[in-house]
Symmetry: C2
Subunit: 223 residues, 2 copies
DNA sequence: CGGGGCGTTGATGCTGCTCAACAGTAGTGG
DNA sequence: CCACTACTGTTGAGCAGCATCAACGCCCCG
């Protein structure tokens, strides 16, 4: 990661360790004073905007940081809720900045993390950009699958720890549509779905439905 | 801004100044090697993903930085194109990091900028979250109006320097729908629209249509 | 065992996409 | 300066994808 053992040790001194949270509890609420970032060690967190009608903004997996959108502000803009029992580390931002100010490698890491968050959101925008619901759900599943496999989990077989309602809000469609599409994908043999358990049977077909460029062909574009 | 004159001077030494670009020219293309961030001095830039069907990702105004999503990568993921004659400053990122590594105030500024970009994208996600097209276009116009007024321009009277096509892509609807909605808003007396020129006549009504919480009531939420 | 939340399924209607033609604007060269 | 073309924007008609409403089954919880 570019951090020496010494760097990590310094970081360790300020991190408040693994406060375990149970399903439904909040990491932070919108409107609360911003003081810390939060690192997800295990579990899953959703961020949402309560303004109006509970718009889901993102699902965050182990290794992700949440709270990044508030650095610029005094208060958190969105709320972060735990979807399953999760271990969350608190990283007081001001103290982090003090330590990082003398550690260029740590600064660099932070820039990368923030940048990664931006490109993450860009991907979500692309996902949402798809006009029809079928494409969006297919793209969502592929994206999730990819993120899980990057974390050493199965890309083909996983549990959705968010509700259908959360998915529908995230993808900008009705709950009923999500339900019907899961059934359709199941019947067409793309997936095997039962409740929260999803098994991807036909990646190629799912990619075709999603209208995405298959990952294998991603890097071939020219300047 | 928290930067001393000395800090600014150091920054000035690495900034490559105001390369003027004309309408249609690119700041960078997707796939190009990432080396610099770009500051918009004057004009307007759109970012888009060419992958597939030219999905517009954002419109950027003076003061904004573009290219932030590539810090984490070796190449730019999206393309950035100038919508009107614009002055763009180039900020070589590696040299920036070298200088910033000894200037905590500059680091802090950079964190804020990156964070601001993240919350910007969150706002866009919220905007896109609206189910019907009417809400999205109204929210888009209000958002743009707000950004313009923050830059000292008129909040009620402005020129759209992007095409209807760009707007439709950005908002995830058909061009025809954008056109029809402009006409409807015009006929209902919310706006006066003629070609690229927009004059907002009834903010309250537009806010009602957008389903947004009026700005006046924004800060009243409780922790 | 009863209740409440979540997910599924069905019927219906409307919003907004698609296709198509046209108008209006800008850009080009004679 | 005007004619020609190409592009962008507008308008209309028709269809369908999906939201909405409603009812019901299922699972988890007390």
């Amino acid at each position: 990661m570019g951090l020496t053992n010494g760097d990590v040790e310094k970081l360790e001194t300020i991190i408040k360790h693994a406060r375990p949270l149970r399903r439904g509890e909040h990491v932070f609420h919108a409107g609360e004073r911003f003081q810390s970032l939060y690192v997800i060690k295990t579990g899953c967190v959703k961020t949402y905007d309560a303004q109006g009608k509970h718009q889901v903004l993102g699902f965050h997996l182990p290794g992700d940081l949440v709270g990044l959108d508030a650095i610029d502000k005094t208060c958190h803009l969105c709320s972060a809720q735990v979807l399953e029992s999760s271990a969350i580390c608190e990283l007081p931002f001001q103290r982090f900045e003090e330590i990082a100010s003398h550690l260029p490698s740590l600064q660099h890491q932070m820039y990368r993390l923030l940048s990664k968050e931006i490109s993450q959101e860009t991907e979500i925008l692309l996902l949402r950009g798809k006009t029809n619901a079928e494409e969006r759900l297919a793209a969502f599943l592929l994206h999730l699958s990819q993120r899980l496999s990057k974390r050493g989990l199965s890309a083909t077989d996983f549990y959705l720890n968010m509700s259908r309602n959360d998915i529908s809000s995230y993808l900008g469609m009705a709950v009923e549509t999500v339900s019907r599409l899961f059934r359709r994908f199941n019947d067409q043999g793309l997936l095997r779905v039962s409740h929260k358990h999803v098994e991807i049977l036909d990646f190629a077909a799912l990619e075709r439905v999603s209208g995405m460029v298959p990952i294998s062909a991603q890097r071939q574009r020219m300047p």
